[in-house]
């Protein structure tokens, strides 16, 4: 696939933005400034950046909680995201929800329900609406490999294939579901084998190679848009931290982490851009500088934003209150 420079640099930008924003989240969580939990996509950024950047403006995503990159790439700004983490009124959900449990229908981002794989049937319904209305839009849904053990995964893929709707299922296979390794999550080697049961074509890609993810996603979206139905894309990666910030992940063999450290998606991409002469080191440093500034501003914005008032808890239960 021939990808233009501006698109490649955009991929790089979102990779780096994701990394830096999540690093700040982690720091703020450790300072006790973010309450609840903090889950990041550290080392896995290429997946959500890749699948989201390959979409068109009118497409829709049903992300899961490691998809910060997709939130950003869809246009949810760092300001709104930082404010969301701090529970501020200016956050994506006005403080109703924390971290990436958020959505913005105008940007084609559905809110992530914690219950893993619940977003898969929802994405099928999104795609179904496109099919019914004859729109050339696609839906992309992502979940972890653990989430693929849930019944809703099965029901979603089955419906999608029978109805041949324009949905692409992405799976972040980071080898663990919390502490549970793939080996006791499923008896197959590749999650992609699951797609066989629905006659859905699948592809396995290096989840640490953003260009690979982007290209595979783009191809699948094209198929979907052409009316050829769903695709399943398994992105192989590794969760480099604990499940969340409060998990030391002692259950992960250190060698595994060492091995994957070498495959960092950002370093990968920098190497790619420079060795292919798409970009210069200087250019990348400039991008990074821009990102740092953006995040500083976002953080400042978030800090200065007001908290909601307690009684706002009562608002917005119904779209048409009685």
């Amino acid at each position: 696939m021939n990808i233009e420079k501006k698109d490649l640099l955009q991929l790089y930008y979102y990779l780096k933005l994701t990394r830096r924003i999540e690093d700040r989240v982690t720091a703020l969580y450790r300072q006790g400034r973010i309450l609840g939990g903090a889950w990041t996509s550290n080392g896995m950024e290429a997946i959500s950046v890749g699948y989201a950047c390959a979409l068109e403006k009118n497409d829709v995503i049903a992300p899961y909680f490691r998809d910060m990159g997709a939130f950003l790439a869809r246009g949810i700004t760092p300001k709104r995201i930082m404010a969301q983490y701090l529970g501020k009124k200016t956050g994506v959900t006005g403080g109703k929800e924390g971290n990436v449990h958020a959505g913005d229908i105008n940007l084609g981002v559905l809110g992530f329900p914690s219950h893993l794989a619940d977003n898969y049937p929802v994405a099928v319904g999104v795609a179904l609406s496109f099919k019914i209305r004859g729109e050339r839009r696609v839906a992309a849904a992502c979940t972890g490999e653990g989430g693929t053990s849930r019944g809703d995964f099965h029901e979603a893929l089955n419906m999608a294939s029978v109805w041949k709707v324009p949905v692409v299922f992405i799976c972040n296979n980071n080898q663990y579901a919390y502490s549970t390794p793939v080996r006791i999550q499923m008896a197959i080697k590749d999650v992609a084998e699951r797609a066989v049961a629905y006659a859905i074509p699948s592809e396995i890609v290096d989840g640490n190679d953003v260009v690979a993810v982007y290209s595979a996603a783009k191809k699948a979206y094209d198929r979907a848009r052409a009316g050829d139905g769903p695709t399943f894309i398994e992105c192989k990666t590794m969760r480099m931290h604990g499940h969340s910030e409060h998990d030391a992940a002692k259950y992960v063999p250190r060698e595994l982490l060492e091995e994957w450290k070498k495959k960092d998606p950002i370093i990968n991409m920098e190497r790619y851009l420079i060795s292919n002469k798409v970009s210069t080191e200087e250019e990348l440093v400039n991008i990074d500088g821009r990102i740092k500034k953006e995040i500083e501003e976002a953080e400042e914005f978030a800090e200065k934003s007001p908290l909601p008032e307690g009684k706002e808890a009562l608002e917005g239960v119904y779209a048409s209150p009685i």
């Binding site: 913005d104 559905l110 329900p113 619940d118 049937p121 319904g125 609406s129 019914i132 048409s320 009685i322």
Partner: protein
């Protein structure tokens, strides 16, 4: 004006809403080519085509989730559970996704879930349940349960036009047994409004769905004895029409709460709780709940009969309250 059955009223509402708004479409098992287990959508497949009357795989959670997704895109899906009993398979999508989307992130989710419920077909524990209690502690949901053709049509239209997820409980016993006149013109019955279906002075019977008819029968029996029952049809179960309930009890000062679901933790408990909180000074006697006992629905006729609330239960309770 035309006389229709309760089932025809439902069918008409679907047909008219689908004709009015191309965003309305249907999903469920065997609703398309076959016309539905209870034949509510007979002829729809021919009229609206396979993509507006979708025969789904056997996947309640899946197709409810799909309805949620379509609703988020501006469609107005109406899901049919073949029997309300199977709604439990879609429980998570309903309570955690559909009901919380709007609050959590502003995602409008106008889905309607039609759930044919209640005892009538001698179906035993899995074809007779009244599952409204499962969903009664779920903010963000709405629930309706009409008792007659007029309300059946008007509430279904209102549910489809509403911007929130609504579970529409249609009673299988009423499908072909209850007829009524309905206007030829378009109308809705607004959500959230109870209705006094029989005025009375002595005791309020607060009830819904098929039990409304039990209450009305009891009222007739008691009239002869000089006990005057007022029958309040809740129509919308969630959120409850508090004022509608209170207005009646202010008048009568006594209340019976009648429902077909099992006793503990159902809609009846909430009505009692509301009255005991807000109408304490108006009450001249204990509240009496009449319901099914706390058991699964039994199959064998004598047990099934024993299980169901009866006219005589209401009559006895009313006599007791009248003498109080």
């Amino acid at each position: 004006m035309a006389e229709v059955t309760y089932l025809e009223a439902i069918s008409q509402a679907l047909d008219e809403e689908m004709t009015r708004d191309s965003n309305v479409f249907l999903l469920g098992e065997d609703i398309g080519y076959y016309g539905g287990a209870f034949r509510v959508t007979e002829g729809f497949y021919e009229k609206f085509g396979q993509w507006r009357v979708i025969d789904t795989p056997l996947s309640e959670s899946g197709f409810t989730g799909a309805a949620v997704g379509a609703a988020l895109m501006g469609m107005r899906p109406v899901v049919e559970m073949q029997f309300a009993d199977f709604i439990s398979c879609a429980f998570d999508q309903i309570v955690n996704v559909a009901a919380k989307n709007f609050y959590r992130w502003g995602g409008k989710t106008p889905i309607v879930i039609r759930a044919p419920f209640g005892d009538s077909v001698h179906g035993g524990a899995f074809h007779s349940q009244c599952p409204e209690g499962f969903f009664f502690n779920v903010p963000g949901l709405k629930m309706v349960a009409p008792s007659n053709p007029y309300d059946a049509k008007g509430l279904l239209k209102a549910s489809i036009r509403d911007d929130d997820p609504v579970i529409y409980f249609e009673h299988k016993f009423l499908y072909r047994r209850i007829k009524g006149n309905i206007p030829d013109e378009d109308y809705v019955v607004p959500l959230g409004k109870a209705k006094v279906v029989r005025e009375g002075a002595d005791i309020s019977v607060i009830t819904y769905s098929a039990m409304v008819h039990v209450a009305l029968e009891a009222a007739q029996v008691l009239e002869a004895e000089g006990i005057s029952l007022e029958v309040v049809d809740l129509r919308t179960l969630l959120p409850l029409d508090k004022n509608g309930i209170y207005d009646s009890v202010k008048k009568t000062s006594k209340a019976i709460i009648l429902y077909e679901a099992t006793r503990t933790g159902g809609v009846g408990a909430e009505v009692a709780a509301l009255l005991s909180e807000d109408m304490f000074d108006h009450l001249d006697g204990p509240l009496i709940r009449i319901s099914a006992p706390d058991t699964p629905v039994p199959y064998s006729p004598p047990m099934e009969e024993f299980y169901m609330p009866r006219v005589e239960d209401v009559v006895k309770a009313a006599r007791r309250l009248a003498a109080y």
